[in-house]
Symmetry: C2
Subunit: 237 residues, 2 copies
């Protein structure tokens, strides 16, 4: 690969990545990323993923205006670790960095859960969260993008889980020191800033969620979400 | 305690907390916190800590201007878990939420480490980080405040560690799945945004730091710092 001043190494997110030989026009975000962040020039090679396990090498054909590139080769990455989080709404803008961090840690699914004490703001927000998931994917050079679903009621979010999923409830009163999870799918539940109410908590326990304490004190919603995902990320591939 | 509309429950940080009977004038931050965040009135009771293990009950004497309070009773909290982080500088403003999260997770010490590839910005910043540590202490109602030290060179930071400290190096190439640490003191080392250089890494290994991977991909500096602290927070008290 030709040297590129001191730009970042490339890791493009192109959901419509085609087979080798395909020519693609990059959207505004990826064009900016290629030319401004990675400082690439025509003819240089870039790495790209479709966020669903394909990793390709591209040649940049043109970096003026909307950039264009050709797919040179493509491979399949190993399957992503299976893990998700059912998460109530944190305060204010605190979901932003939460999503970026969950994506960096390699979480598979984030389900935004509307709770008795607090609901997620309207859907305009989800587009922004999705962009932050892409930023996290680029940062960690992952081949799988964090999928953001919902907002959805808790009961429906629970019903969407396969029965064999390991289920964990982040709870200040739960046992400490739970060892990292084994292989297989694991899902955490984290209440909104105001917490799950008693009926939500008993529903979660009734559906097989095991309480676990993440620290020896209370954590904000978004801190618990990142701490749970950090615990999950320690587990076996 | 009289009911207080819907203000937050109080948890004041008063480093000069005296013995029962002492009357204290609250600084600007704590006066604002008591009147605006907790919405307390004269005569109400508040909880406070000196951040060094004392937890007191206060009566608010006056909430106009600089608030005044009297210490009614005081107890000692259990000793804090022993744990620290030697941490290089993250990009831009990313240290802010990092410090807030480390404080929420109950970390004891954060040592800002100047590295070959990147140094921390000037000391003006440290006052801001200290305020964020206080925000984290309030949020998690802790009796021990995160102590922020440095910036200091790596060699000096390592020399400040007691010999019996468990030593861990956050490293993408290290082994996965390290179980939560046992009781006793544990310290992590996290490189700056640009990473430790080869000589820093070999110094850390030579000084007994054991590599551990926190996830199956690369993490930003501040994400690794929070993920390591979340791992540490899982450990035995």
């Amino acid at each position: 690969m030709p040297s590129r001043a001191d730009g970042a190494p490339s890791w493009l997110y192109l959901p419509e990545l085609g087979a080798p030989g395909t020519e693609i026009e990059l959207g505004a975000d990826e064009s900016h990323y290629v030319t401004r962040v990675c400082r690439m020039r025509d003819g240089e090679r870039a790495q790209a993923t479709d966020g669903r396990g394909a990793v390709a090498t591209l040649t940049l054909l043109s970096t003026r205006g909307a950039a264009r590139a050709r797919v040179e080769s493509s491979v399949r990455a190993a399957p992503a670790r299976r893990g998700g989080l059912l998460c109530g709404a944190p305060e204010g803008g605190r979901a932003d960095w939460m999503v970026e961090k969950l994506a960096e840690l390699g979480l598979e699914r984030l389900v935004l859960v509307d709770c008795a004490r607090s609901a997620w703001p309207g859907s305009a927000r989800q587009e922004r969260l999705d962009r932050l998931a892409v930023a996290g994917l680029r940062q960690s050079r992952r081949a799988w993008k964090l999928s953001i679903e919902g907002p959805t009621p808790l009961a429906r979010a629970i019903a969407s889980l396969p029965p064999e999923t390991g289920r964990w409830l982040a709870s200040e009163g739960g046992p400490r020191g739970t060892p990292p999870p084994g292989a297989g799918s694991n899902v955490g539940a984290v209440g909104p800033a105001e917490g799950f109410d008693a009926s939500e908590e008993s529903r979660l326990l009734g559906e097989g969620f095991r309480p676990m304490a993440l620290a020896d004190g209370r954590l904000r919603c978004e801190t618990a979400a990142v701490a749970w995902s950090a615990w999950w990320a320690l587990g076996a591939s």
